[in-house]
């Protein structure tokens, strides 16, 4: 009886392993990491400025819809991407206006902005198409996939690295740009300083709120790209609540990466991996619903393990 159980389990492990080492699985890891990594970079920039941006989820969702609308009306995916980025920045503008200007509670504002986005996207979608669920009525244009010369000819590795969506490659550039921004530019120094000690920055005669505003705008632009990936690359078109928690998973990834671009990228890759794994678990006969639980469970477990390991002697108000 138990022997049977273990042999089944062993067979399952072998099956999973055989899936994991295929190039198509690793290709999908990179593909699924893209939106999480963009959201993570978005979280990172704002968090380093001392604003825990929980509304990235909402910003991505809003950008996903605006990107689709933009590309449908201009028939250009690049203008659609631009619309999505602007939509993400608009969302940051809202957050800045409420939180920095009207001094609203950050957590509650972000929660409200997420449900604002959820409602507004359906509202706009319904007004434009008469449909509440998807944007199939809009002739949107997807971002192209790019086949990279030379790399595509390398066996195995080429199948993983080449042929990804153009946004996936742009994401690599975004990570590098964020690292340069934070560590090599004046604005980056200000951003980190505001996150560490806003009083010190104010004493130096610089408005902490202004720096936070810039950081939020950058954060919003990156979240906008993430939204564009969701509706113009991951899936063709907008579906309601399509971001499904990636903006929150990003917060966990950013926390696990200590707010460092490279470490956060690795954490985002872990979540992209679990996302991809969940998509493949059905081959083991796991029900669709159980498979969909996996990425979220892994996020909770990873967050708990991470904070448990790094837990200092009882903080009163711990950060992420």
């Amino acid at each position: 009886m138990t022997g049977n159980f273990f042999s089944t389990m062993w067979a399952n492990i072998v099956t999973i392993f055989n899936i994991i080492i295929t190039s198509s699985f690793l290709y999908s890891v990179l593909r699924l990491t893209t939106p999480i990594l963009l959201a993570t970079m978005s979280a990172l920039v704002s968090d380093r400025a001392g604003v825990t941006n929980i509304s990235i989820e909402g910003a991505m969702l809003f950008a996903a819809l605006i990107g689709v609308i933009g590309s449908a009306y201009t028939q250009s995916c690049w203008l659609g991407l631009l619309c999505a980025i602007l939509a993400g920045m608009f969302f940051s503008l809202l957050l800045s206006f409420f939180h920095l200007k009207l001094k609203t509670n950050l957590v509650l504002t972000c929660i409200a902005l997420n449900s604002f986005s959820s409602g507004l996207t359906i509202f706009i979608l319904y007004m434009l198409t008469g449909d509440r669920g998807t944007s199939t009525a809009l002739p949107s244009v997807d971002m192209p996939k790019v086949s990279i010369p030379l790399i595509r000819d390398i066996p195995f590795v080429g199948e993983i690295l080449s042929g990804q969506n153009v946004l996936t490659y742009m994401t690599v550039l975004v990570v590098i740009a964020v690292a340069i921004l934070l560590y090599k530019t004046k604005l980056g120094i200000y951003i980190r300083a505001v996150g560490e000690s806003p009083q010190a920055v104010e004493t130096a005669g610089i408005s902490a709120n202004r720096i936070r505003f810039y950081a939020l705008l950058i954060s919003g632009a990156i979240a906008g790209m993430g939204g564009a990936f969701m509706s113009m690359a991951y899936i063709s078109g907008f579906t309601k609540d399509m971001v499904s928690g990636r903006g929150f998973i990003a917060l966990a990834a950013e926390a696990m990466g200590h707010g460092q671009p490279l470490a956060s990228t690795l954490a985002a890759l872990l979540f992209g991996f679990t996302d991809s794994l969940a998509n493949n678990l059905q081959v083991l006969g796991l029900s669709n619903d159980l498979a969909r639980m996996v990425p979220y469970i892994i996020t909770i477990v990873a967050l708990a393990l991470y904070t448990w390991r790094s837990a200092k002697p009882k903080k009163v108000t711990g950060s992420l």
Binding site: L102, I111, S118, R132, T299, I300, W308
Partner: protein, 369 residues
């Protein structure tokens, strides 16, 4: 000396409001401004998108009060979101931003339906057991982010937001694998037996005895929070965690039982909802009552005694939005947008900042005299 005599002698209503109860009054003014701005925005949006704005506004603001059935709808909606509203009040009073009321409500509803539909229970128990089961499951869900916070210091908001997805898919798995009524033609449990349905208490409306349950719950929670030692622990921890620690409050316990209690009430609300409003459980997505609970709790400023009022107001808006959705050309999601704006502005201390400053100056000058 009674209060009214006292206030007459010391400068009347203005003095009473703006000097003695300044914070409360400023909060009230902020709330009125917030609601006014949000409603104004709703009207602007309606004018922008509707081909017959007059009718849409009528359906939104007048129709919910124009018939007995409509008022009944307001009451039933208010009942549902009072449960989640009180749940969120307790969770937030312990200054834990736990968002699990949403999934606690969902799983409570499913559990209540399963217990009622699959077990053959004698009368009375057929009502009580599903309610208790819903509350118990809700307590488990609500306490998970609390345990993670208390034991490993994991941020409760991220963990609860993730938990909502986990619970949704877990619930759907359980439902589809073990409790599906194959004759229903959709994803649903078996029909609840008549003995497990909450009685209708106002003819011609959908109002069920759940409204009585929620009143009892609110009274009990009020007593718990304001008249018991454990409730005092929650409030003191929420206002000042360090102080609570120094005065010997067991902080981990406070976090745990506040989140467990909040989850239990949200779960109870779920089973009440199913037993009062539906013939069977047929939700395939999170219903959003936990989120409504957050706006209710914020409008009630986390005080259980104000929850019914806030819930009735949100219930009114929800009912109006549904009428507008059905009988006019404005989608009901308008209300989600308006609620979000309201929720943000209610916490905007800067809205009355200038008034506050002016009052402070006035007071300072007055004291000089």
């Amino acid at each position: 000396m009674s209060k009214t005599e006292h206030e007459k002698k010391t400068g009347g209503i203005f003095e009473f409001l703006f000097t003695r109860h300044r914070t409360a009054t400023l909060n009230a003014i902020t709330m009125v401004i917030a609601i006014a701005i949000a409603l104004a925005l709703a009207l602007i949006l309606i004018f922008a998108v509707s081909s017959d704005p007059g009718n849409a506004i009528w359906q939104f603001l007048v129709a919910p009060l124009a018939s007995k059935r409509a008022i009944g709808n307001i009451l039933t909606t208010a009942t549902t979101i009072s449960f989640t509203g009180v749940a969120v009040c307790i969770m937030f009073q312990a200054s834990m931003f736990n968002m699990a009321a949403e999934s606690a409500n969902f799983l409570g509803a499913l559990t209540g339906a399963i217990v009622a539909a699959s077990l053959k229970l004698p009368p009375v128990i057929s009502i009580i057991l599903p309610l208790v089961a819903g509350a118990a499951v809700g307590a488990i869900v609500g306490s998970i982010p609390g345990i993670l916070r208390a034991k490993v210091n994991a941020n409760e908001m991220v963990s609860s937001l993730m938990l909502n997805y986990v619970v949704l898919y877990f619930g759907l798995y359980i439902l589809k694998s073990f409790f599906l009524d194959k004759g229903a033609g959709q994803v649903a449990t078996k029909k609840l037996p008549a003995a497990s349905r909450l009685a209708n208490i106002i003819k011609g409306t959908g109002v069920h005895s759940g409204v009585l349950i929620v009143v009892v719950v609110i009274v009990l929670i009020y007593i718990f929070l304001y008249k018991t030692r454990a409730g005092f622990g929650i409030r003191i921890y929420g206002q000042n965690p360090s102080f609570a620690r120094y005065t010997g409050v067991n902080v981990d316990n406070v976090i745990l039982y506040s989140q467990m209690l909040g989850g239990a009430i949200a779960g109870l609300g779920g089973s009440v909802e199913i037993m009062g409003m539906y013939q069977r459980f047929q939700w395939t997505a999170l219903p959003g009552y936990g989120w409504d609970g957050i706006i209710v709790a914020i409008l009630a400023r986390n005080k259980p005694q104000f929850v019914p009022l806030a819930a009735l107001f949100i219930g009114f808006l929800r009912t109006g939005a549904n009428y507008m959705n059905t009988y006019a050309d404005v989608p009901k999601e308008l209300i989600t947008v308006i609620q979000a704006i309201m929720m943000i502005l209610v916490t905007a201390t800067a809205l009355t900042g200038r008034l506050k400053q002016r009052l402070a100056v006035k007071e300072a000058l007055g004291n000089d005299r």
